[in-house]
């Protein structure tokens, strides 16, 4: 009964989402516009299927640097003009390169939507990458990287990725690049990477107090003459060797008090039929409530960590299925042992019926919360387009979740999670001699 009532609430919210206008421009760009009139605001979000996975190891950070440079000058406005014109109206535009995609968006009152759309079109289609702006941005990136070098969580994350993937694999590094690669990138490298932005891989979502037909016309006017200067890039993924045994790496860092641990194995692709079984298993293992089973043991029972959780990165390729915790250096081994124990128990005995009921009720019941705001609605539409899930996805979601059996969860956990073949990275104070 608990579940049935939640699902109907979620379905009401989901029905609104399915009402979005979906429009494909002649150049292949996809636009989604949804009228939501309960607030005078508008949320603009979008992505291009171009990210760090398309850059070489030697040019690590290129997608991120290029995305951040879009706002630094266009054919019609300087960076100073963009921030002055948007901030004067309390709106903002942004863009940034991620691992698989380059994201962009804006936040504005509905009355200012024309301005932010015009600027976003300029940023995406006609950036100029002015030399002095690229240099300023480079210096900010370098400072960020210098700070990252002394952040335990970032160092553990960098290490676990390099342990799981070969050097030339895009998942083997962080999208922020390194001091050396960011130093070496030129303005022309950014301009060349921008040539890979392609309208057929672009999705633009607008949610707010707007008239969809009017906005679709506006999108046609602003983005219709976006002609690709290249074909969409393709990817050649390097092979990934399965883990052989246990790999452990400790990164000693000066001036630190706590050790951050990341345990990890190779997971699976988002398109894998077992994805939902893995996702549900992951929620039970390390997310539900205060960190799932890991939280229950490491934090609640043993009081070892303020944060502990598991995470599943599933996209174009099999990403990291990991567990993370921050503990006192004296407790590093005990924390790892406990994480391994919980994984072993989960693989051996699987989830309880109560856990499965809980996770189903949570995943379906909480849908309404995610669809409350314009930003939430836009985010849901973006995910739907990114993974080609169909506008009725949120309505189908409860069925999808319910179709995942206990057996599928156990099988999937056993197929990927291992207590004999894994990597673990620890960044923190130097280990005691």
């Amino acid at each position: 009964m608990t579940f049935v009532r939640s699902a109907s609430t979620a379905n009401n919210a989901a029905a609104g989402l399915a009402a979005a206008t979906r429009h494909i421009l002649p150049n292949g760009m996809t636009a989604l516009v949804l009228r939501a009139s309960s607030s005078p605001t508008v949320s603009v979000r979008g992505f291009l299927s171009v990210g760090a996975v398309y850059e070489s190891t030697a040019q690590s950070g290129l997608a991120s640097f290029t995305g951040a440079a879009l706002i630094r000058g266009t054919q019609s406005r300087t960076f100073q003009q963009i921030v002055a014109e948007t901030e004067e109206r309390g709106c903002s535009v942004h863009a940034g390169g991620g691992l698989h995609t380059t994201g962009f968006g804006a936040r504005a009152l509905a009355e200012d939507l024309p301005l932010v759309l015009e600027i976003l079109a300029d940023m995406l289609l006609r950036p100029t990458f002015p030399l002095h702006e690229v240099e300023k941005l480079r210096n900010q990136f370098l400072m960020g990287l210098r700070e990252d070098e002394q952040e335990t969580r970032v160092q553990a994350s960098r290490a676990i990725r390099s342990m799981l993937y070969p050097a030339q694999h895009p998942y083997g590094r962080l999208t922020s690049g390194t001091m050396a690669t960011i130093q070496a990138l030129s303005r022309d490298d950014l301009a060349a990477f921008h040539q890979q932005y392609h309208p057929s891989s672009a999705v633009l979502v607008i949610v707010g107090d707007v008239e969809p037909p009017v906005i679709v016309d506006e999108i046609e006017r602003l983005f219709g003459d976006w002609k690709p200067s290249s074909v969409p890039p393709t990817l050649d993924w390097p092979p990934v060797a399965p883990l052989d045994g246990v790999q452990r790496q400790h990164i000693p860092m000066a001036g630190k008090v706590q050790s951050d641990i990341i345990w990890g194995v190779h997971g699976l692709k988002r398109s894998d039929p077992a994805y939902y079984a893995a996702m549900i298993g992951n929620v039970i293992l390390g997310q539900l409530g205060i960190g799932g089973r890991l939280g229950e043991n490491v934090r609640e029972r043993q009081g070892m960590a303020y944060y502990v959780y598991s995470s599943l990165e599933a996209d174009l390729e099999a990403g990291l299925w990991g567990a993370a915790a921050g503990v006192n250096p004296e407790n590093v081994d005990q924390a790892i042992t406990t994480i391994l124990h919980e994984i072993e128990q989960f693989c051996q005995h699987g989830p309880t019926d109560e856990e499965i009921d809980d996770v189903r009720a949570y995943l379906t019941g909480s849908l309404a919360l995610g669809l409350e705001t314009n930003d939430g609605l836009a985010g849901a539409l973006l995910t739907i387009e990114h993974y080609d899930l169909g506008l009725d996805y949120v309505m189908r979601y409860p069925e999808i979740i319910h179709a995942v059996s206990r057996e599928a969860i156990v099988e999937t956990a056993r197929a990927y999670l291992s207590t004999e073949r894994y990597a673990v990275a620890i960044a923190g104070p130097a280990e005691e001699e």
């Binding site: 609430t9 921030v83 901030e87 004067e88 700070e147």
Partner: protein
């Protein structure tokens, strides 16, 4: 916005209940606020407010330890709790038809939390882990030093999480006494916002809260920070990636007539900040004075100001991460230079118009979420009155260029200033 005005209800035990119907999405949020935080803590008990907050997740006879989180999740909800200098708050945001679960949880743990000795002990090390996590960041060391130097009398002197030595020594009974003193209906505010019928929801509120005993009279916070008698300076030397500068000026609290002028001053320096508690507003700092003077000129890789509403006089702050080939001294001089410009020349009418529009937009962005709305209402009721949420835009719009200049001249003086530098040591 599909909303009606806030309604205030007072229960016989004097607990205040604020409700607002919002029917734009099938969600509702339940917040309980306690007028207690680190400003109420005596010496030797620093961190007790935050630890007590944690203990309210550790079980009652009817909701045993480890079941609260599962129950909320099972009902499709999210929850959290947090402690600040002036308040402690908990919330559950749920599908609208589950709001009663929030009422049940908050009424139960206000009175029936167990504080079992073994749960208390295991939470001690969780909190030490939280403290050690913060200590991994150089900014934490600098911030704590600046606050400690700025407040010699007032408890804003110590960090909300407390001192490690106090956390190691505190006993279960000290925690429980603190809970019994402050976690009572006469010191609580319940805020409910969302897709419900007020009459119906108030019947549930009465069922869960009306019979709870009011609680004892509350100890008052007597400390008043005296007028500083000169600039104070602190330097932290530790391993770190960069030099950081943090400055704080002792300024009035949110009930003072100059609050609005200081808030506008903050916005002229680094934009009108998002009001939301979960992020999601617009970035407005890059056309403002500090970014232009420090980041555009590459003195700093980031720089901003901040001024928060507080119960007692707190700090108007300036922060910067010093650029690689510049020094903390240069950045400090540039930050002070920006203050002096306003003291001498004031701000322009265009800047005030910009800030006014930014505030209107930030209010609209944060207003989309019932959780954010409840955060604003509850916080303002603890600090002054929930009515400020509605009057704030007008208060800020009434600020003149002269008001801003006068506030800068009166409060952002050398005498009221604490300057902190973080200087990395060689590895």
């Amino acid at each position: 916005m599909t909303s009606i005005r806030v309604q205030a209800h007072t229960l016989p035990n004097t607990m205040l209940v604020l409700t607002r119907e919002v029917h734009s999405a099938p969600v509702a949020t339940c917040w309980i606020w306690y007028r207690v935080g680190s400003r109420n803590e005596p010496s030797g008990l620093t961190g007790v407010s935050h630890w007590v907050e944690h203990m309210l997740f550790k079980g009652t006879p009817s909701i045993p330890a480890g079941t609260l989180d599962r129950t909320v999740a099972r009902n499709g909800g999210v929850f959290n709790g947090f402690t600040w200098t002036d308040f402690t708050a908990y919330y559950e945001t749920l599908p609208a038809d589950r709001l009663e679960l929030g009422l049940h949880i908050e009424s139960d743990r206000m009175i029936n939390s167990l504080f079992e000795p073994d749960e208390t002990d295991s939470e001690r090390t969780v909190i030490l882990s939280e403290l050690e996590g913060y200590a991994n960041y150089p900014e934490t060391w600098l911030d704590e030093a600046v606050k400690a130097a700025a407040f010699t009398v007032h408890p804003y002197h110590h960090p909300v999480i407390g001192y490690k030595s106090d956390l190691l020594a505190m006993t279960r009974d000290e925690l429980y006494d603190y809970y019994q003193t402050y976690y009572m209906p006469n010191n609580a505010i319940l805020v409910l916002i969302g897709d419900f019928d007020t009459n119906q929801v108030m019947k549930q509120v009465e069922r869960y809260f009306a019979d709870l005993p009011a609680g004892p009279a509350l100890p008052s916070v007597r400390a008043v920070e005296p007028e500083p008698q000169g600039e104070r300076r602190v330097v932290i030397r530790r391993p770190g990636p960069a030099q950081y500068v943090q400055m704080g000026y002792l300024v009035p609290d949110c009930r003072h007539a100059d609050f609005a002028a200081l808030a506008v001053l903050d916005a002229t320096l680094s934009g009108a900040k998002p009001l939301s508690f979960s992020g999601g507003g617009a970035q407005t700092n890059r056309s403002a004075r500090i970014y232009q003077a420090l980041v555009e000129t590459e003195l700093a890789s980031s720089a901003s100001s901040s001024y928060m509403p507080t119960r007692d006089p707190f700090l108007f702050e300036l922060h910067a991460t010093v650029h690689d080939d510049r020094t903390a001294d240069e950045v400090e001089t540039a930050l002070i230079g920006e203050i002096e410009k306003i003291q001498q020349d004031g701000v322009s009418a265009d800047e005030l118009a910009k800030i006014s529009k930014q505030l209107r937009a930030q209010v609209a962005y944060s207003g989309e979420s019932v959780t954010n709305q409840a955060f604003q209402l509850g916080m303002w009721e603890v600090l002054d009155s929930y009515a400020r949420v509605d009057s704030l835009l007008d208060e800020l719009a009434a600020v003149t260029t002269d008001d801003v200049r006068r506030a800068a001249q009166t409060y952002l003086t050398e005498q009221r200033r604490v300057v902190g530098h973080f200087i990395p040591t060689a590895d």
